[in-house]
């Protein structure tokens, strides 16, 4: 397969519904977008917009009611797709009875990395995510922020071509966010494709080439970040507006449309 010819992520007409009958609730409705190779794409929306459901579908954790979801041209969640992807969940604990090194050996091993590679890579990774010297500590003694750093390490352990982060900096303190941004910028420089959801709009501004906004399961906008920021700064006949204000206006106007 030639990656340059195909999209890294391809979502077409995705519908995700929870529950049945009268209690059924649509989390994602007719969502379509693509992510190209080497792009960093932010996926934003208010709580309950359908971001996590979309990401879970991408990873094959949930199965859509309708639509086509492909990763590297393979069905989402397939072994081939997961082999080339790294994923950081929104909130996750990592086996409390295991040590940092052991849990990374587990995740790296599942990716097919041999012992020699793991022995070399794990200390490097721990250093990279700010956990140097913590590899022999049981995870039950890690703070929430340290657990999230382990999460980042496990997501990039196989040096995947695609990184998917659900709520990028959830649980991280300002230093953790700074370190994470450095990791992401490094990955971006190396041509990796990054797709992440976030509530932190400044992260999207700082890191993304493109932003996809969703609300109530529907796509509101899909824009190139520098173009969007330039347009908002110029105003184009309106007062200049911040990215945050633009986002709020979009969400509110959609809410009013639905109410009307």
């Amino acid at each position: 397969m030639s990656d340059s010819a195909e999209h890294v992520i391809e979502i077409e007409g995705l519908c995700v519904r929870y529950g049945r009958g009268a209690k059924a609730h649509s989390a994602v409705r007719e969502l379509s977008f693509t992510v190209e190779r080497g792009e960093t794409v932010g996926f934003i929306g208010p709580n309950g917009a359908g971001k996590s459901s979309t990401i879970k579908t991408l990873m094959g954790f949930i199965f859509p009611q309708a639509g086509r979801v492909r990763v590297f041209g393979e069905p989402a969640g397939s072994i081939l797709a997961r082999r080339r992807s790294g994923y950081l969940p929104e909130v996750s604990l990592y086996y409390p009875f295991m040590k940092g090194r052991e849990v990374l050996e587990l995740y790296g091993g599942l990716h097919g990395l041999d012992r020699a590679t793991l022995k070399r890579r794990i200390p490097e990774l721990l250093e990279k995510v700010g956990l140097a010297g913590q590899g022999e500590v049981l995870l039950k003694h890690y703070s929430k922020g340290m657990q999230q750093r382990v999460g980042i390490a496990q997501a990039i352990i196989s040096d995947p071509d695609l990184l998917i982060f659900d709520e990028l900096s959830s649980g991280l303190d300002p230093i953790g966010r700074h370190d994470l941004r450095a990791v992401l910028l490094d990955l971006k420089r190396r041509g990796k494709t990054i797709f992440f959801s976030s509530h932190e709009l400044y992260e999207v501004e700082a890191l993304c080439d493109r932003v996809i906004m969703i609300h109530q399961g529907r796509k509101l906008a899909d824009e190139i970040v520098p173009d969007l920021l330039g347009r908002l700064a110029r105003g184009n006949g309106h007062p200049p507006m911040s990215f945050e204000q633009h986002f709020m206006n979009l969400v509110r106007s959609t809410g009013e449309e639905v109410a009307a």
Partner: protein, 256 residues
């Protein structure tokens, strides 16, 4: 295969690092030490008394350990959300289930072997006459029971809540044989549909008594034939394979 081993290893590490197994072993040792004090009462056949209490206590302790470990694997993965980073790796759902199952069985065997070492040490210290060939058969069937109970608790944890899974699996372990006896007693009094249901229940509920050779060990009876052991092995497989197959069927499309 490596992926199965890696998943199984997490359960074994958990079993080693949690204190539950050691607490159960300490309680069992305490029971055995207390029983050995019966010597001061000049009890006749003390060794039979010791063996009976010891083997029953160890069998029940191993079974409970395996049931609890097996039943909590999947619910814990969901509750702690550890399943997400794990299933984001190139790990098929059947590999995940089989790895977990193997881990529970290995942890159960570790527990069983510790118990058997304690029992053997006690028997040797008290110079009890033990037919070691029968004892080996007893241990083999206990291993099969561990594998059956692990598969059963796995399946139950996918169908009902964790607490209910542990309760039902424990009841089946303690009362399975009595229950299937009761089924055969009422078989003649029900209609065709009822008989079909009873037959299904009879063949799907394990009968732990079939895996229990403790009486032979205690009374020094002769060992059972290899053919019987083969049949019990087949019976265990006839339970394990459908339990795991059904577990996979329920898990393969489950939303995580």
């Amino acid at each position: 295969m490596r992926r199965l081993t890696l998943v199984a290893r997490t359960i074994f590490i958990e079993a080693l690092r949690r204190r539950e197994i050691y607490v159960i072993i300490l309680i069992t040792v305490a029971v055995l030490v207390l029983v050995s004090f019966a010597r001061v009462f000049h009890l006749e056949y003390l060794h039979k008394f010791y063996q009976e209490i010891a083997l029953k206590t160890m069998s029940v302790a191993t079974a409970i350990t395996v049931i609890v470990l097996g039943a909590r694997q999947l619910p814990r993965e969901f509750d702690n959300r550890t399943i997400y980073p794990l299933m984001a790796k190139p790990l098929a759902r059947h590999e995940f289930l089989l790895g977990k199952y193997c881990g529970v069985v290995v942890a159960g065997l570790f527990c069983l072997m510790l118990f058997m070492a304690v029992f053997s040490a006690g028997a040797l210290l008290m110079r009890m006459p033990i037919a070691w060939s029968v004892f080996a058969e007893f241990v083999y069937l206990q291993i099969l029971l561990v594998a059956v109970l692990a598969a059963l608790s796995f399946l139950l944890s996918l169908v009902v809540h964790l607490d209910a899974a542990i309760t039902v699996a424990t009841l089946i372990y303690l009362l399975g044989s009595a229950l299937t006896n009761a089924l055969s007693m009422i078989y003649g009094y029900v209609g065709a549909a009822g008989r079909a249901v009873l037959l299904v229940l009879n063949y799907t509920i394990p009968q732990p008594k079939l895996f229990d050779l403790s009486a032979k060990v205690i009374h020094n009876w002769p060992p059972v034939s290899a053919a019987i052991l083969g049949l019990v092995t087949l019976y265990a497989l006839m339970l394990i394979v459908p339990y795991l197959g059904l577990s996979y069927f329920l898990f393969r499309r489950r939303a995580l």
